[in-house]
Structure formats: structure tokens, C-alpha cells
């Protein structure tokens, strides 16, 4: 019987029904301390340190502070120190602050070659879906499950439903994978993928680079999905070749990975078709990623919404965002710009953003920063001189970490500040209490930084 990629991976990892073996467990400092503590209290060992890797990302300051001991915030410091101690006690390799390979957990997995097709990957972080871009089954778990994986290298799981989204045609000039996923969430809503593992397919997906594919899978969780996946192909293998963690018998592994894509005729619980040629550059206007429209549109009018719940939510959102219905999106003026996060902080994101600058300067009304996703991305960008281009234009160039994606470190918005952000969540207070977030692609963020308001990147020379 023809099988979906998801089914092939699921079946290959079933220890028994509903008990799934985990090939790679990624650990970070925020969601792991209670799990390590649980192991200690019950006298359990961490079963497979060789399938586990830890990094510090959420708490780390990005202003160049070299070591955990230098984190000024005592609680943040304690979390990072706890991670280092736990990793040492349980034999887990750790890339903490100061390590050449420290970075956002979802950036370092792929760049170290740890993320591979056909694997099951989990992490106590919802954006674990990112790794599905390689044709892996990757999803976020809570701390109790983190402890369960540590102790047993397995997870108790009910088989999720499957969805395939087929994108027909090519993306237009200036339209990015960030716009593709934002438009998809806008269409399906923030719970449209709930309960599903989603496979993204079609010409527009095949044409994406690995890093662009990661952006798509990353935001699966914003659509409520359990995991996002994209079939591995030459683009995938090319990206992986030569990375430190990949199999020694790489060509043989490629042969195995080529068997992973969904078979012709396999069925999904749900199939959705989207015309990729009609996707435009997108900007969120509200406080969920589903509240998103084309940059050429105007802020929607709650009065015109169908359901009372949508109307109420939109009214609340507009009030929080300080926006009025009918305002053209291009007239909205962010004071802050953030290029970074596990959605858009990889080298190609930074290249695109830097490439859009073309000698121009950040508007006087804007404070803009660029935060590479990992220490390796940072080093690579500096090798290519991107840091100079950004600095020259008036962007701040920072160290690697989650930074202003969630404001658990010193990088935050102040009350009422409006930010064009390449991250993934525009929830109330996400980037700092009272902060107003508009999610966009890296080039749209760059253009907003320079012009001081949103612009349609397609008409921006």
C-alpha cells in the first residue's frame, strides 16, 4: 500500500503501538531544568546522552557578553548555569555561551548536520517543527515529556492525522517563504492544522532552499500543526553534505533517504490546495499570526467580520496594536525592527536583508537590530562582510540567541513600541509588555527599517 512520508517514519520508530522511539533530543535551558530535577529525584539515568544535545539560547544576552557568569540577570544566569551543570552531570554534550557552535536550538541542529531525513526529533520547544524541513518527524513537547524522553528515549504518542498542502505554481518576485507560510496561516487560521502532521508540497516548495523550507516548517505550530514536513531531495542532500554530524557513509544514506518521500497514491486525512502565484508580501495586523493581510491591504474592519468571536478578537487586537480599521498597511510606522529568531536568522536571511540595503540608511525614527541565529551564522556573516553592511546602514549587529523574539533576555520592546519583526509570534506582550509586533519577511523588515514604514517590496527599488 502506498504510504505517506509521515507513515514511513512513524512505522520505522514504533517500539510498539503508540510508543515512539526518538532519534534526537534537543535540550535548552528554559524547559529542561525541571526534567533533569525529576531524573535526580527518582534516581533515573538519562538513557542516551549520545542522542541528546543541549544549548543555551532563550536567556542569553546578545550584546557580546562572553560567558554565562556575565549574564546580569541572576535568574537567567542561574538557568544557564543549571543547564551547564545538568549537562555535565548527565553526560550530555552542551553548546553553551561562549561556544563556537552556540545558538538557537533550531538553527544549530541543521547546521551541525544533526538534523537528518527520516529521523524523529523532539525538543521542549514548539518550534521544533523547523527540523521537518529535512523530511524528519519533528515536534515540540512539554517538560514532562522531556523527562520521559530523557529517561526512556521514547514518547507515548497517539498517531496524529495527516494533511498535505499543495502549492501550485511559483512564488512571485519578492515573495518569500515567510509570506507563503503567513498567507497559509491566514487562510487556515491558527487552529486550522491542529491535530495534524502537515506535509508541504508542490512546485513552490520544491523551489525553496533548505533555509527557506525551514522558515515554512518552523511556523507550522502557528497554524496549530503538530509537525511540518517537506520531502528530502537534492536540495536537502546538497545542504547537508560535509556538515559535521552527517553519516560517514553519506552517499549510502542518501540512497536510504530517497525512499522517504510520500508514495504516489498515498492518502492524507486532509488535502488543501493553494495557488502560490497569488501570494503577496504579508504583514500581520493583530495579535495572532492568523491576523495577517497583504502589505497592499488596509487594516481590516471588525464590523465586517462574520462571527461575533472574530469580531471581538479583532477589536481587542486593534486596540492593543493601536491601529484603526481602514489604515493602509503601508502607512504603519514601526519604531523598531528585529531581524532574527529561529524563523529567519540563518545566513540566507541575513544575505537577503543585507542585499536589500543597497547603501541606504535606517530611518531616523527607527532602531533596528540584526541577531544571527547562531555563533556559526554570525561568523559566516562576518566573513562575508554582512556585519559591515548592516552597521554602515545603522543596524545594530548582535550576538547569537533568541533575543527579541520573546524578550526573556535584555532585548525587549517598551510599552507601546511598534516593531517589524521576522520572528513567529505577535502575541500580546511577546516582545515585551505592551509591545506591538508585526510579523514580516527579512526583506520587508529591512525595507521598513529604511523607509520608516511598511512598503510593498515588489515596488521598492
Amino acid at each position: 500500500m502506498p504510504k505517506t512520508m509521515f507513515e514511513k517514519i512513524w512505522e520505522a520508530h514504533e517500539v510498539r503501538e503508540n510508543l515512539l522511539y526518538i532519534d534526537l533530543h534537543l535540550v535548552h535551558e528554559v524547559t529542561s531544568p525541571q526534567a533533569f530535577e525529576g531524573l535526580r529525584m527518582t534516581g533515573r539515568k538519562l538513557r542516551r546522552p549520545d542522542k541528546t544535545v543541549a544549548t543555551a539560547d532563550h536567556n542569553v544576552p546578545t550584546d557580546g557578553t562572553p560567558a554565562a557568569a556575565m549574564i546580569k540577570d541572576a535568574l537567567s544566569r542561574k538557568q544557564v548555569e543549571t543547564l551547564e551543570q545538568n549537562a555535565a552531570d548527565f553526560g550530555v554534550p552542551v553548546y553553551s555561551l561562549g561556544s563556537e557552535t552556540q545558538g538557537i536550538v533550531h538553527v544549530i541542529g541543521p547546521e551541525l548536520g544533526l538534523t537528518q531525513p527520516g529521523m524523529t526529533i523532539v525538543c521542549g520547544d514548539s518550534h521544533t517543527s523547523t527540523h521537518g524541513a529535512f523530511g524528519a518527524l519533528a515536534f515540540g513537547i512539554g517538560t514532562s515529556e522531556v523527562e520521559h524522553v530523557m529517561a526512556t528515549q521514547t514518547l507515548v504518542q497517539n498517531k496524529p492525522k495527516t494533511m498535505r498542502i499543495n502549492y501550485h505554481g511559483k512564488l512571485g518576485e519578492g515573495v518569500t517563504s515567510k509570506d507563503l507560510i503567513l498567507a497559509t496561516i491566514g487562510k487556515l487560521s491558527t487552529s486550522g492544522m491542529t491535530g495534524y502532521v502537515v506535509e508541504y508540497a508542490g512546485e513552490a516548495i520544491e523551489n525553496l532552499t533548505m533555509e527557506q523550507r525551514m522558515t515554512v516548517c518552523n511556523m507550522t505550530i502557528e497554524g496549530g500543526g503538530k509537525a511540518g514536513m517537506i520531502a528530502p531531495d537534492e536540495t536537502t542532500f546538497e545542504y547537508m553534505r560535509g556538515k559535521p554530524g552527517v553519516p560517514e557513509d553519506f552517499e549510502a544514506a542518501v540512497g536510504r533517504w530517497k525512499k522517504l518521500p510520500t508514495d504516489e497514491g498515498a492518502t492524507f486525512d486532509s488535502e488543501i490546495n493553494i495557488d502560490a502565484t497569488r501570494i503577496s508580501p504579508m504583514v500581520t495586523w493583530g495579535t495572532t499570526p492568523g491576523m495577517v493581510i497583504q502589505v497592499t491591504d488596509t487594516v481590516p474592519d471588525p464590523e465586517k467580520m462574520d462571527s461575533p468571536a472574530d469580531k471581538e478578537a479583532a477589536e481587542r487586537a486593534l486596540q492593543y496594536m493601536g491601529l484603526e480599521a481602514g489604515t493602509p498597511m503601508e502607512e504603519i510606522r514601526p519604531e523598531r525592527v528585529f531581524i532574527g529568531s529561529c524563523t529567519n536568522s540563518r545566513i540566507s536571511d541575513l544575505r537577503e536583508a543585507a542585499g536589500a540595503i543597497k547603501g541606504r540608511k535606517v530611518a531616523d525614527s527607527v532602531r533596528a537590530m540584526v541577531v544571527p541565529g547562531s555563533a556559526l551564522v554570525k561568523a559566516q556573516a562576518e566573513d562575508e562582510g554582512l556585519d559591515e553592511i548592516f552597521r554602515e546602514a545603522g543596524f545594530e549587529w548582535r550576538g547569537a540567541g533568541c533575543s527579541m523574539c520573546l524578550g526573556m533576555n535584555p532585548d525587549i520592546l517598551i510599552e507601546g513600541e511598534r516593531c517589524a519583526s521576522t520572528s513567529n509570534r505577535n502575541f500580546e506582550g511577546r516582545q515585551g509588555k505592551g509591545g506591538r509586533t508585526h510579523l514580516v519577511s527579512p526583506t520587508m523588515a529591512t525595507a521598513a527599517a529604511i523607509e520608516g514604514h511598511f512598503v510593498d517590496i515588489r515596488n521598492w527599488s
Binding site: H13, T31, E37, G113, G124, G140, S144, T194
Partner: protein, 187 residues
């Protein structure tokens, strides 16, 4: 984990949809390395701004897509430690739902209409064994996975249960399934 059989009492109401975990427990409170001490910070920003007022009743009723966003289990700990024992909503995010059931905290899915009736009744009784919610003037049944239900009713420790199958895990690791993926310790 504490076992659950029935949960009964007044309901607290949070009449919003898409309540995300960033709201339930804002990130500044995620810096603790313990499992406790989160209850007092529940919905911190909304409470501090006077937008909502919540009583620690046994049951919370809220809108669709409850617990969306970040995977932080701290959200469940905060709700539980504040005093809630169950949340009733038309839908939940997957991770939040799963996290709840690992903590003896009961997520109950009922449609909008039933949620409204419970809000109006002001009190309810959830019976896990019979999978029903009853209130003054009405009753509804809810779905729950039988394995999750068994674990909740018995207050069973997931890890201990899985470790009973350690032989099977070892056998799996010895087979072809044990060979996927990198060896992190050799990098």
C-alpha cells in the same frame, strides 16, 4: 501525579479565544528552575492591568484554541497551582492538551454552546469515569483517549509505566531502528 475522578464546583470564566501560553504565564516567570511557584503569576499582565479578575474555582471555562503558542508546561503548572483543576474549552492546542494530562490537570473539550450553558449555570461537575459534564439543567459528554483516561484515573507515572517495557526498548535499539541519526557525543 494525583489521580482525578470527579471535579466539582463553581466555574471561573475567561471569555476569550486563542488564549496563548505567553498570556497564561508571561516569559519573565519562566526563569525558575523549579516546578512550583507559578500560581501567583497566572495571567500576570491581564490581571495587573485590571483586564480580568479570576477566582481560583475548580473549573475554568474559556474560548477556542486554548493554550496555543509556546510549549511551556509552566502554563499548566500556573493554572493548576492557582487552584484550577480543569479547563473546559471548545478546542485546545495539541501540546497544551498533552502537557495538562501529564500533570493531573484535566482539559475537557465541549462545543461552544455547552460552554455557554456552563458559564450561565455558574457551576459544574466533571466525571472522568463516565466522561460527562453536568450542570444545573444540563449534561454533556466529552471524548478522551482511553489510555490518557486510564493514566489520569490512576494517577499513574508515565515514565514508570514505559520503563516496564524496557526490554522492548532495548530490543528496538538493537535492531535497525537503533541506528538512525547522529552520535551527538562524538562531535
Amino acid at each position: 501525579m494525583e489521580s482525578i475522578s470527579t471535579i466539582e464546583g463553581e466555574v471561573a470564566v475567561l471569555d476569550r479565544s486563542d488564549v496563548d501560553t505567553d498570556q497564561i504565564i508571561p516569559k519573565q516567570f519562566l526563569k525558575r528552575v523549579e516546578r512550583t511557584g507559578y500560581g501567583e503569576f497566572l495571567f500576570y499582565d491581564w490581571v495587573r492591568d485590571g483586564e480580568i479578575e479570576l477566582e481560583p474555582h475548580p473549573i475554568l471555562v474559556s474560548g477556542r484554541n486554548f493554550g496555543s503558542g509556546s510549549s511551556r508546561e509552566h502554563a499548566v503548572w500556573a493554572l493548576h497551582q492557582f487552584g484550577f483543576q480543569a479547563v473546559i474549552a471548545p478546542s485546545f492546542s495539541d501540546i497544551f492538551y498533552s502537557n495538562s494530562t501529564k500533570n493531573g490537570f484535566l482539559p475537557v473539550v465541549l462545543d461552544d454552546e455547552d460552554c455557554q450553558k456552563i458559564v450561565e449555570a455558574g457551576q459544574a461537575k466533571i466525571d472522568l469515569e463516565s466522561q460527562t459534564v453536568s450542570w444545573d439543567g444540563g449534561e454533556a459528554s466529552f471524548e478522551i483517549d482511553s489510555e490518557i483516561k486510564r493514566r489520569l484515573l490512576g494517577g499513574l507515572d508515565d515514565i514508570a509505566l514505559t520503563l516496564q517495557s524496557e526490554d522492548e526498548i532495548e530490543a528496538f535499539e538493537a535492531g535497525p531502528g537503533g541506528t538512525y541519526g547522529p552520535v551527538t557525543t562524538s562531535l
